[in-house]
């Protein structure tokens, strides 16, 4: 392994890391703006022009807040919770192909931190560790509201992971690979997976909402019943980590949706006008980010439109509707592959 390889990976990893943080940072701003606009308000507009320095101000505020660790909590676990949430949120970015590859001096530099051949399994593994952050944090707080929030979060995530996994199986059957890069590469032109897997996409989308704990499935932090849910006892930057992890998760899951179902970095038509592969790669990355931003917006749009589900409705939807649907989708896909190939 020569030096340039390590440097290139290091740069790429830093970029992905930075981009995740940056996008998450501005998602908090975008969320407020979108919420405001959808409610006929203006939103933050005091910190800097149009309020674009608002995330910085929020960060400063979070750091300056008093650091409170409840006496009766398990201190180690109390600190571990937000750390896990943040760690797993940032780890998923590694297997997402952010673009094709840049060719510099005859060497190919693929725009992906690591292309493991079981990328999808890795994603699922990391995402399911993510629930521990919430569970541990909620349990360690030693507060009934936190505990209830954590309970809800974990049962919700576990049940929706099933449907999510099943919907992905249909996709894997079709593409015949577990590598995220290959899934993205297969969707050239207009061959986006969403066209072949509309039902699978719908299930995946719903489950992604549940997995990221976003409205209408944000029962884990349901303010109307649980104060703040699993992060009731958290303050200062530990709370910041939890909130921030949610936005990173949103970014990553938007990236995953875009990559799995919406062609990732593939752009229809552009290939005819631009021939330079490097420019093409950059354009592809930009296009991917456009898709990601759309989905982030979609997340917010949904959040400010649909009220929260009741807990039994949530479980009903997960177990009695989505899982059977996902299984049916697998069978349909099987038939489809048998008859059309």
């Amino acid at each position: 392994m020569e030096m340039s390889f390590i440097i290139y990976k290091l740069i790429l990893a830093t970029c992905v890391f930075g981009a995740s943080l940056f996008v998450a940072m501005y998602s908090t701003y975008a969320e407020r703006k979108v919420a405001a606009f959808l409610q006929d308000r203006i939103g933050p507009n005091r910190a800097g022009p149009f309020g674009i320095l608002q995330p910085l101000a929020d960060g400063v505020k979070m750091f300056m807040k008093e650091e409170i660790i409840p006496n009766v909590s398990n201190k180690f676990l109390f600190l571990l919770g937000p750390s896990i949430a943040m760690l797993t949120a940032l780890m998923t970015g590694a297997v997402i192909p952010w673009g094709t590859s840049l060719t510099i001096n005859g060497t190919d530099y693929p725009l992906q931190v690591t292309d493991i051949n079981i990328g999808i399994l890795y994603l699922f593994g990391v995402v399911s560790i993510g629930v521990y952050g919430i569970m541990i944090g909620g349990w360690a707080s030693n507060n009934k509201y936190s505990l209830l929030g954590a309970l809800r979060a974990s049962s919700q995530m576990i049940s929706y992971e099933l449907a999510m996994g099943l919907s992905i199986i249909a996709l894997v059957m079709m593409t015949g690979t577990l590598s995220v890069r290959e899934i993205a590469a297969q969707q050239t032109g207009w061959h986006w997976n969403v066209i072949y897997q509309p039902l699978g996409f719908l299930i995946f989308l719903i489950c992604a909402f549940a997995e990221t704990n976003r409205a209408p499935f944000d029962l884990a932090e349901c303010e109307s019943e649980l104060v703040g849910g699993y992060h009731t006892e958290y303050s200062s930057m530990k709370l910041g980590f939890y909130l921030f992890a949610e936005y990173i998760n949103m970014f990553i899951s938007s990236a995953i949706i875009a990559t799995f179902y919406f062609g990732g970095y593939n752009m229809p038509l552009i290939g005819r006008f631009v021939t330079n592969p490097n420019t093409l790669a950059m354009l592809g990355t930009m296009f991917l980010f456009l898709k990601i931003f759309f989905f982030i917006f979609f997340y917010m749009w949904i959040r400010w439109t649909i009220p929260r589900f009741r807990y039994d409705q949530l479980m009903h939807l997960g177990w009695k509707i989505l899982i059977p649907l996902a299984i049916a989708n697998i069978i349909f896909t099987g038939f489809g592959m048998y008859f059309f190939n």
Partner: protein, 199 residues
């Protein structure tokens, strides 16, 4: 069923149809509605830059008026304090000494006059009670402060400045009747007394 009014409705708990159970059409409908609001004109008025017009009847911070000669109108009769439902007004009286005619209009005046702005509900009853047209509510906003004691406004904040051009106009708050009434020369306290002119 006999009803008292015609407005009561019989509530039916109806089962959702299959179409409704799908949720998706309803969700799409909701998304369409919220998205249409995205481009609507916002109702917000960005405060310090744009200031909203107050209604003519707006009742803000009080002012203790002076008369044409610059003498304080208030005679410390206490009627405003009695009228005040929030018990926000307190005062102590003093007797006017010879030579102070240019400062105080009547023989008795308010040595201290305090309104607790945290108690005040800006009802305007003090204004109505005052027989001397001394106290008025204006269209000024009571500014914020970080200590309770700073909300107790004494005479230094309530009495308007003596300079003619710095006087605080309450014309906007005056109804036609009041303006008419002030012009009547036969009403005692509207009269200009000799010897009360500024020296």
């Amino acid at each position: 069923m006999l009803t008292l009014t015609n407005r009561s409705k019989v509530v039916v708990k109806k089962q959702m149809t299959f179409w409704e159970k799908l949720y998706i059409p309803a969700i799409l409908g909701g998304l369409r509605i919220t998205f249409s609001h995205f481009f609507k004109k916002k109702a917000t008025i960005s405060y310090p830059e744009v200031q909203r017009e107050f209604a003519p009847v707006y009742r803000g911070q009080h002012v203790l008026k002076r008369d044409e000669n610059g003498a304080e109108r208030c005679t410390s009769c206490g009627l405003c304090a009695v009228a005040c439902p929030a018990e926000a007004i307190t005062m102590t009286s003093a007797e006017r000494k010879p030579g102070e005619e240019n400062l105080y209009r009547e023989e008795k005046y308010a040595a201290t006059y305090e309104i607790n702005m945290l108690r005040c509900i800006f009802c305007g009853l003090c204004e109505e009670a005052c027989p001397k047209e001394a106290i008025f509510l204006t269209d000024r906003i009571v500014p914020s402060a970080d200590l309770r004691k700073n909300f107790v406004y004494g005479k230094n904040k309530l009495v308007e400045p003596i300079e003619k051009e710095k006087r605080i106009s309450v014309a906007r708050r005056q109804t036609e009747d009041v303006s008419e009434f002030k012009k009547q020369p036969n009403v005692a306290h509207n009269k200009l007394f000799e010897g009360k002119k500024l020296k």
